[in-house]
């Protein structure tokens, strides 16, 4: 053992800690053999194996060994560094060493969990540990960069998730920019009539929150807007927002709606987006009565003034000296600086046309669940009366569950809310039409608070439940106009054919069509299903892999409103925690130039995507701005004279790793 008592300067030997992780690692890798092997490696002072190195006693071993044995370096062979690198760096620091005198070996995710051959897995573990020991001996003491955090927060998406997150932050005194793509906030929830399982009216619980957003002094609300560019990093993002022209001066519009009344179109003729085309609107319109902001929009596609320039402009006339209408309004670009970002861009319903045999778009009697939400809504296109496209009231209704969910041809996952909203719609439809309602389900999933009770209630109301996947929807042969739902009833073991007047498709929730573009814009990742990926499914469910960017609501995956709100609160809390810390510590993995060795060839300068490298003419040398450098290492790999180096990823360290994994006994 070399120089045992010289603590803190990293001159001592290496301590290696092999974690069993219960049986997660020890079940496949021979941890005892591995520790014994590690103990014999050059430079290793001590090697231990322990049940859970991340536990308090586990960390205590590390700290004590650093003090008692004068360790200079620490290697922990356990799970992925994404999970516990921070934990062990902290333990290393608390033991009295520079936290970067540490290296982690990923035994669990990259070895024991993916291999079945004990011997091969143990051999691999030895290779990895050997590489880490060799590497860590070359580690340098580093300082984390501390950068101040801009306290302002950007929230993208104004559904219930974005609304709740924005209000939480604003109530805590933080300035929030809320950017919503549509002319109003509210998201999908604004389209519902009632919400399961309590059946409280969606508008009654949502509208107060929407108006609170509008009137909150700490919230800047930009509707009809989109983020087009994001620069910077945690604490200091620079965001560009495009504000589409709505041809109304927002500050001057009082929301009196007289212009809509006065529009030269006496009748509303344009299919109305908010009512999913079931109703009509005029070219100048308010998406729905409770829209926030209460500011109308002009749709240039259908407005006569935009099409021909020859409209009488009765809207302008009636607006009078309020002067809120501006046909020349241009797109505006805003640039804002924020420290943290919450993404709450929600979901889109599965497109029912993708399953042609259900006949959506072919048979007028087939509706999506969201359309039915509008039909049962008192403010909806039919004033809350459930009338079919042919004007009749349905007497029999079939609800098909799991449309676009739990199916390998569409989405494999369960959309989590469809069973419950189908029960809700069954109840509402029955209440409004007294029809016979049939639910065709695979399994009823009612795992939330008061959900099972709600299911029982709906069942007791006399709604029919048929366990079976509908295989076909076709018109009744004798021209009754009804549609036959054909399914195998798996409880009875026979094929049922039930004629109905109305078919409701419980379409699942899927990632938005532009989720990939949004993901790129914000530099985060998506999971296989296309939803934004959280940093850890259990322990960091609202974090992303990009520091300072958080997720809330259905953009992360299907969920109901209670879960969405809880997650939005969590995302707001995470953002607050960062903002209130005032500073953030960044990984010190930046690149730097060895000035004496730089030949001034300028190869590196154009390579840097962040323009962090400049060529200093006076010295004829390259220089890296540490604040701008994000530490990718592209310039390091490209420098022909080897004079750019990268902290934490020094060439020498990586060469040691390469030799280490290959230096077979």
């Amino acid at each position: 053992m070399q120089e045992p008592k010289r603590n803190g300067n990293g001159a001592g030997g290496v301590g290696v800690y092999v974690c069993h992780c219960g049986t997660n690692i020890a079940g496949i890798i021979d941890v005892r053999e591995l520790a014994a092997y590690a103990a014999g490696l050059p430079g290793v002072t001590v090697a231990r194996e322990y049940k859970y190195v991340c536990s308090d006693p586990g960390q205590e071993f590390i700290k004590q060994d650093i003090r008692a044995l004068g360790l200079g370096r620490v290697v922990v062979a356990a799970c992925s560094p994404c999970l516990h690198e921070k934990t062990f760096r902290r333990a290393t620091e608390q033991g009295g060493l520079n936290p970067f005198y540490f290296q982690m070996v990923n035994l669990r995710e990259h070895d024991s969990w993916v291999h079945t051959d004990r011997e091969a897995a143990t051999e691999k573990a030895k290779d990895l540990v050997r590489a880490a020991v060799r590497r860590v001996r070359l580690h340098q003491p580093l300082e984390r960069r501390r950068v101040p955090i801009d306290p302002k927060v950007l929230v993208v998406g104004g559904g219930i998730a974005g609304i709740h997150a924005a209000l939480t932050l604003a109530n805590a005194g933080k300035k929030v920019y809320l950017v919503e793509r549509e002319p109003t906030i509210g998201g999908h929830m604004a389209q519902f009539d009632k919400t399961f399982p309590t059946l409280d009216c969606a508008a009654c619980i949502l509208t107060p929150k929407m108006t609170a957003v509008r009137s909150h002094p700490n919230i800047t609300l930009w509707t009809y807007s989109e983020v087009t560019k994001v620069d910077g990093y945690v604490g200091n993002f620079k965001v560009t927002v495009k504000r589409k022209p709505r041809y109304i001066v927002e500050e001057l519009c009082l929301g009196c709606l007289e212009c809509i009344e006065a529009c030269v179109y006496k009748q509303a003729k344009v299919p109305d987006e908010f009512n999913l085309g079931l109703g009509k609107r005029k070219p100048i319109y308010l998406p729905f009565p409770q829209a926030v902001p209460q500011v109308v929009v002009i749709d240039p596609e259908t407005c006569i003034e935009f099409k021909s320039g020859k409209c009488k402009k009765t809207c302008v006339e009636v607006c009078g000296d309020r002067l809120a209408i501006d046909f020349k309004q241009q797109e505006r670009i805003e640039e804002v600086e924020v420290g943290t970002i919450i993404l709450a861009t929600g979901f889109q319903p599965f497109d029912a046309r993708r399953i042609p045999y259900y006949g959506y778009g072919t048979y007028p009697g087939v509706y999506t669940a969201l359309e039915v939400e509008r039909l049962v809504n008192a403010a909806g296109p039919t004033g809350g009366e459930v009338l079919l496209r042919d004007g009749h009231k349905p007497r029999t209704i079939g609800i098909i569950h799991c449309v676009g969910s739990r199916d390998e041809h569409t989405h494999r996952y369960c959309s989590r809310v469809c069973c419950m909203y189908s029960l809700k719609l069954a109840h509402l439809l029955k209440e409004k039409t007294d029809a016979e309602v049939y639910n065709f389900y695979i399994d009823i999933r009612a795992p939330g608070k008061a959900f099972e009770e709600f299911y029982n209630r709906v069942a007791e109301e006399g709604t029919h439940f048929i366990r079976g996947k509908v295989a076909d929807v076709y018109p009744e042969p004798n021209g009754t106009g009804r549609l036959v739902l054909q399914a195998e009833d798996t409880l009875l073991g026979l094929v049922r054919r039930i004629p109905v007047d109305m078919v409701v498709l419980a379409t699942g929730l899927e990632a938005r069509a532009d989720a990939q573009e949004v993901r790129r814009l914000f530099n985060i990742t998506c999971s296989t299903e296309g939803f934004f990926l959280e940093r850890h499914p259990k322990l960091a469910p609202v974090n992303t892999f990009t520091d300072g960017i958080f997720l809330a609501g259905c953009c992360q995956g299907p969920k109901d409103i209670p879960d969405t709100v809880a997650q939005a609160g969590a995302a707001a809390a995470e953002a607050l925690a960062l903002v209130d810390a005032q500073f953030v510590e960044l990984e010190p993995n930046t690149a730097y130039v060895l000035e004496e060795e730089c030949s001034g060839c300028k190869t590196c300068v154009p390579l840097c995507p962040y323009s962090a490298i400049t060529f200093v003419e006076a010295k004829k040398k390259a220089e890296i701005n540490e604040v701008l450098c994000k530490g990718c290492g592209v310039c390091v790999a490209a420098c022909p004279s080897g004079s750019i180096r990268q902290n934490l990823f020094e060439d020498a360290q990586i060469f040691e790793e390469i030799e280490g994994v290959l230096a077979h006994a």
Binding site: H115, T525, G631, Q646, F649, I658, L662
Partner: protein, 154 residues
């Protein structure tokens, strides 16, 4: 040493993998949490970006006894650092040519785009590469003297 290796019965390729921190490394983590099973022949070295992979790393790996080298990065357009993976691709193409001249088969060096959610691709790529390299047999590099002799003879 109980496992002092006599002449190995069966050739087990050794593959050094450089995985970028933001996509492929995470995909390999996900393969773990999903308990996918794949061949135990790779040894992953984490780099921040595939663009950090210096051609010398690859050459060093071959020189030190690797039978194959796998570079994993984010899909085009997805690099956490915008364009690092394009740099990696450019270097990869050059490297392959260089390796060919050195008599190292193309299949021994592989560049793959594997996003954080593509755990199954990690499995597929590793298994496939192990099979291909196994079929090629161990890498035998010409020792410098041989190269030197060839150059003199030329």
């Amino acid at each position: 040493m109980p496992d002092a290796t006599p002449a190995p019965r069966k050739f087990e390729p050794r593959i050094v993998a450089f995985f970028c921190n933001w996509c492929t490394y995470l995909a390999a983590d996900l393969a773990g949490t999903s308990r996918l099973k794949y061949a135990p022949n790779t040894r992953v070295i984490r780099v921040m970006c595939s663009g950090r992979v210096d051609p010398q790393f690859v050459l060093e790996a071959f020189a030190r006894g690797a039978d194959g080298v796998l570079i994993g990065g984010c899909h085009p357009g997805d690099c956490h650092y915008q364009v690092g993976n394009y740099k990696a691709l450019r270097r990869f193409r050059l490297l392959r040519r260089l390796l060919r001249e050195m008599g190292i088969e193309e299949e021994r060096l592989r560049l793959e785009w594997i996003s954080a959610s593509e755990a199954d691709k990690v499995k597929a790529v590793v298994n496939d590469m192990v099979e291909k390299v196994r079929a090629l047999g161990p890498l035998r590099l010409k020792v410098p003297e041989e190269v030197f002799a060839e150059e003199v003879a030329a």
